[in-house]
């Protein structure tokens, strides 16, 4: 497969690259190094710009008012959008819009009116409530939050952990066990308004990540009506699985973007910095680190574009998405680590974005399915059904 961008893709890439360099990075230079938000006036101004560029709501399908950009092109643009200090978790500070995991296209018309369309317009925010204190990698086994039938509706009791944006969202997609005898066939997805009695955001969970802190949620006799069931009762696992698989591709793209930015910094520094009378770039030890960076980036880029291409063509892409996520998150971490090594002491400071990328990239090997689960998915596919 040829993954070289075509002329139209190249034009879009250059447009987004210019936006990052001319609009985002100068504003970012004035912010706290760990900041994740722009000044609201700057954010509103830049949203108008991305709308004028025709790129607002980039991951929204055309039939829902999105700009009709295929997934391969979206990956190429996501790689560009991540190339700034906060870019791994808040690419371009959200000025390109989009709904991410909250794209509830399986919703009925009433739910679409109440939740999906306002979210796509940027009026509502949502959270994705899957992981629990009992685990996240094996949702079929780990989900202990229960939803029991009561008063023509459902009563939820339980807890969720490491949930981003729950304190600021107007609603969330929450997975709960509705039939304890059926494993993955006993999970239902609910849409929960964050002002529902019995829904609580209990605390911030502090992690390595500077942006989008995680929270802990509690559901205490939280009653919702049947209208809040997303899809069908006991079919929630498919909703979760679909999102987790699809999300792996843009997740990988973000890692590649940051890796490219770190690699470019390392190259520039190696050409500039002299030690013991010689440029770093003339030393084989440094050259080899840069070569390894190049290989990690190219590998991840190839596999991520391959996964996106399969998704674009409507082919199964589960194994490719896992390979992309695995190579990009692990390779990206190695690239940032080597870039820090080449920068020496300065690489450890908050003066440069490398230390933030280092911390946040570490989470990528765990978030959205850890490396071990990706390897398990790939092993199942290549070894066949007798392993399942």
């Amino acid at each position: 497969m040829d993954f070289e961008p075509n002329q139209e893709q190249q034009m879009l890439i250059e447009q987004v690259r210019r936006f990052v360099r001319e609009e985002i990075i100068p504003l970012e230079a004035k912010l706290d190094p760990d900041a994740s938000e722009l000044d609201p006036a700057d954010h509103a101004r830049l949203v108008e710009k991305t709308k004028a560029m025709g790129l607002f709501g980039i991951d929204i399908p055309k039939e829902y008012g999105g700009p009709d950009i295929d997934i391969v092109t979206r990956v190429l643009l996501a790689i560009e959008m991540a190339q700034h200090r906060a870019g791994l978790y808040v690419p371009c500070y959200g000025t390109f819009g989009g709904a991410g995991l909250a794209q509830i296209f399986e919703a009925n018309e009433d739910q679409k009116e109440r939740y999906l369309y306002p979210t796509l317009r940027g009026e509502k925010k949502a959270f994705f409530g899957l992981t629990e204190p009992s685990g996240g990698s094996d949702p079929a086994g780990a989900i202990q939050t229960r939803a029991e039938r009561r008063d023509n509706g459902w009563v939820l009791n339980g807890a969720k952990l490491y949930i981003s944006n729950a304190d600021r969202a107007q609603y969330g997609i929450v997975f709960a066990r509705t039939d304890s005898s059926k494993g993955r066939a006993g999970i239902t997805c609910f849409i929960i308004d964050s002002d529902t009695p019995g829904f609580h955001v209990r605390r911030v969970v502090h992690t390595l990540r500077s942006s989008h802190y995680a929270t802990e949620l509690e559901f205490k006799d939280c009653w919702v009506s049947d209208h809040q069931v997303l899809g069908e009762v006991n079919k929630g696992f498919a909703v979760a699985n679909d999102r987790l698989t699809r999300q792996r591709i843009p997740y990988a793209a973000g890692c590649i973007g940051v890796a490219i930015a770190a690699h470019e910094m390392a190259i520039e520094w190696a050409k500039m910095r002299s030690t013991f009378g010689e440029k770093l770039s003339h030393r084989q030890a440094v050259q080899w680190m840069l070569v390894d960076n190049e290989i990690d980036i190219r590998t991840a880029r190839h596999f991520t574009l391959e996964a996106a291409e399969k998704a674009r063509r409507g082919l199964p892409f589960k194994i490719e998405a896992s390979i992309a996520k695995l190579t990009a998150s692990e390779g990206g971490g190695r690239v940032v680590d080597r870039a820090m090594q080449i920068h020496g002491g300065m690489g450890m400071t908050k003066d440069l974005p490398l230390e933030r990328w280092y911390r946040e990239m570490r989470i990528r090997r765990v978030g959205e399915g850890p490396s071990e689960v990706q390897r398990m998915v790939i092993a199942r596919e290549i070894l066949g059904s007798n392993l399942r």
Binding site: D32, D34, D167, V204
Partner: protein
């Protein structure tokens, strides 16, 4: 084991001598009036030349004697700062007066 949600260390007088002894590290802090009512929750981020010491020295210059403070050294000063503001809002129904003048975008917590 979760971190303690609220800053519960004893107050210290906000004086030139006490802030001079503070570490130059990143973290969060609270300033209160003489009765212990919180006036401001602040952060010492990576742009503070000497972290908590610089921020509290500035607070002392601007407020003079008569206030109190307490600090927490914390590398995750941003998320901890947001958390302390949200907890204060949940406990008291609003932000401390000096934060309310220029409120940051906040979510809502219902802490235990």
């Amino acid at each position: 084991m979760a971190l303690r949600l609220r800053l519960e260390k004893p107050w210290q007088p906000l004086t030139a001598e006490s802030v001079q002894r503070l570490p130059g590290q990143l973290g969060v802090y609270q300033v209160a009036d003489a009765k212990g009512a919180v006036l401001f929750i602040g952060q010492a981020g990576a742009r503070s030349p000497f972290g908590l010491r610089s921020e509290l020295q500035r607070e002392h210059r601007e407020r003079g004697d008569g206030c109190q403070f307490r600090v927490e050294v914390n590398q995750q000063y941003r998320t901890r700062w947001f958390e302390l503001l949200m907890v204060h809002k949940a406990d008291h129904g609003g932000l401390p007066p000096d934060n309310a003048k220029n409120p940051p975008p906040l979510g809502r917590l219902s802490p235990y």
